[in-house]
């Protein structure tokens, strides 16, 4: 800790008046999470898990979050590429619209999904009529809700990397006879792979933790659409505080692993080009 220096140059060190709010801010962010670990009913944890059907819920969460991430990667990378590299006029507007799920409250996103893809939605109606497909309150619905909320995370990461990537390398590849597809697959994409990986992990973590849109569009059906976050709310509302803590722990664990794995790299990435 070199927060307060007693000796040596002070240029660049934080000014004293900032130190108190800085410490309060730090504690505010750390203490509640720490409390979760401290107050966890470590002894009765096994019983809690059996009681709360956590294994079932855990499995549903892991599978749907992974499926949603696959959807995000398959659609998000092309989208990020189009946003970063195409020269169409309305690109900035499109980018802003695409990033909306990032800032819109997820419950609002859930309502929007319902209006669009619900059984009476302006798109869902035809899915039902033509294919007999109903998305709300199904596992597919869960995947769609998670992908809707999580995809912008991937798109932001990949688009940023693509925009700061050296287009000169693409030009060099073209002069060597590479088709646009070959340039993309052999030069452009491999060079932003670190950002793609970081974006994918973030996207997966966001999908795993998704609650608002998921519960509205996917519902809360035990063993079918109940994910870990939904389970946390359900047992918490049922007054079972220790179960809620027990169910929260896997999510916390995943978060810690993700942060440890990414380090502060994705934070830096928004300001500096990916190397």
């Amino acid at each position: 800790m070199t927060l307060v220096r007693t000796r040596g140059p002070r240029v660049g060190a934080p000014p004293r008046p900032l130190l108190v709010p800085a410490v309060v801010g730090g504690l505010f962010l750390v203490l509640p999470t720490l409390g979760l670990v401290i107050r966890a009913p470590w002894r009765s944890l096994g019983a809690s898990y059996r009681h709360a059907h956590v294994l079932d819920t855990l499995r549903i969460s892991l599978v749907t979050a992974t499926e949603a991430t696959v959807v995000c990667v398959l659609l998000g990378i092309p989208l990020a590429t189009a946003l970063a590299r195409s020269r169409m006029p309305g690109r900035r507007v499109v980018r802003a619209l695409v990033m909306l799920p990032l800032v819109v409250p997820p419950v609002v996103g859930g309502v929007a999904l319902f209006l669009a893809l619900g059984r009476n939605g302006y798109l869902g109606r035809y899915l039902d009529e033509w294919f007999g497909l109903a998305l709300p309150f199904t596992r597919t619905g869960i995947v769609i809700a998670q992908a809707f909320v999580a995809m912008p995370f991937l798109v932001v990461a990949v688009e940023g990397a693509l925009r700061s990537a050296d287009a000169g390398l693409d030009e060099a590849a073209a002069t060597l006879g590479a088709s646009p597809w070959r340039v993309f697959s052999r030069v452009t994409l491999p060079l932003v792979l670190p950002s793609v990986a970081a974006g994918t992990v973030l996207c997966w973590a966001r999908a795993l933790g998704e609650f608002g849109a998921t519960v509205l569009f996917g519902g809360n059906i035990q063993g079918l659409t109940r994910t870990l976050p939904t389970e946390v709310v359900t047992v918490f509302n049922a007054g079972d505080e220790s179960d809620a803590v027990a169910v929260s722990l896997p999510l916390l664990f995943v978060a810690v692993v993700v942060i440890a794995g990414l380090g502060d790299r994705w934070l830096r990435q928004s300001t500096a080009p990916a190397s």
Binding site: E171, T175, L176
Partner: protein, 361 residues
């Protein structure tokens, strides 16, 4: 006919290049000009990295860009090998795969492409670097690898954009000699973009000077050195250039002063005098064969290899080359009043190619 034919207008924002030039097979043409003259724009248009606004660009007999006929061949099908100033090696691939990239893109199998790439690396004397990553290369090594990569893609034409600019002085001297050999070995046309006249003189058979988007002069190096067409070219080749009006063997210079010349043309002319053709005297020279004498003041002195380049204010102003011994013996220093002398036969006069433009514009 494997040549590069360029006769096009290329626009970049408010700047436009409107130029004509041709590079024949086996020829190395240097496109020489100051920064911002549009040299790289010409190269990028030939490579298909920018589109021409009008005119016509052909590579190896195939029209690759002709807006009037809606022809535009994309870069990857033009078969132009480009060596970029910043080399642009793919950082995620080994040197060997960088050089094999072109062959792979054309559908050659991995092993065959790598074998051929290894051959090119050997030929350029960097075979031992095959397994390295580009970031582990020095500037000179990266330059050789970039050239190997361009040549290995079997190009119909070779384009080099300031190939030595990114190198330090010592490396540049080393690479320059090699580059000359490799360019001589290449059978197709080579277009070399540079702002360095020495590079142009050493590497090219012919020089095309581009200024402000237009070709102001082209010809063999000797021709350009002897008869520079613009002040920029004169400065590049290190000679004195004056614009003036000739009448009966005397040229009245635009900037003041007169020079007696050997020719007898009349009208607007350019006059060039080599700095080494001027003699320096402390007193007004007496009767001699030098037809031109004028008073001047030394304004600066700078060492230039084994000579001293002195600039003097006249009129006319001039750059004068003298030996260090002369500087010492005559006590030449800033502010010293001197006399300059030049024989009429050392004063080159030729029609001013820019005169028509000056009158019209």
């Amino acid at each position: 006919m494997t040549s590069v034919d360029f006769a096009a207008r290329v626009e970049r924002g408010s700047f436009a290049v409107d130029a004509q030039l041709c590079v024949r097979a086996g020829e190395v043409v240097a496109l020489l000009g100051p920064n911002g003259a549009g040299k790289s724009t010409v190269l990028r248009a030939v490579a298909g990295l920018v589109a021409a606004r009008s005119g016509r660009i052909a590579v190896a007999g195939t029209v690759v860009d002709e807006p009037a006929c809606r022809v535009f061949v994309p870069t990857e099908r033009r078969r132009v090998g480009v060596v970029f100033q910043d080399h642009r090696l793919f950082p995620h691939q080994r040197v060997l795969d960088n050089v094999a990239f072109g062959a792979r893109a054309r559908g050659v199998g991995r092993d065959a492409a790598r074998t051929s790439a290894r051959g090119w690396l050997e030929r350029l004397g960097v075979g031992e670097l095959a397994a390295r990553r580009p970031r582990a290369l020095s500037g000179g090594q990266a330059q050789r690898v970039a050239l190997a990569r361009a040549l290995a893609s079997d190009p119909a034409a070779l384009l080099l954009d300031e190939p030595l600019a990114a190198l330090d002085v010592q490396t540049r001297a080393d690479v320059q000699g090699e580059l000359r050999t490799h360019l001589a070995d290449f059978a197709g046309p080579t277009l070399l973009v540079t702002h360095d006249p020495v590079e142009a003189l050493l590497l090219a058979n012919r020089i095309v000077v581009l200024e402000d988007g237009h070709v102001v002069q082209q010809g063999a190096a000797a021709e350009i050195t002897r008869r520079p067409a613009t002040p920029y070219v004169a400065r590049l080749v290190g000679t004195n250039l004056y614009r003036g009006d000739a009448e009966h063997g005397v040229v009245a210079l635009d900037g003041g002063g007169r020079l007696v010349v050997a020719g007898s043309g009349t009208g607007p002319v350019l006059v060039s005098v080599r700095p080494s053709a001027l003699t320096v005297h402390l007193n007004r020279p007496g009767a001699s064969s030098a037809r031109n004498t004028w008073a001047a003041t030394v304004s600066s002195l700078a060492a230039l290899g084994d000579r001293v380049r002195m600039t003097v204010t006249g009129p006319p102003d001039a750059a004068v080359d003298v030996t260090p011994a002369a500087v010492a013996e005559l006590g030449l220093a800033q502010g010293v009043a001197i006399w300059l002398a030049a024989k009429a036969v050392d004063v080159e006069t030729y029609p001013d190619p820019g005169a028509a433009v000056t009158v019209a514009g």
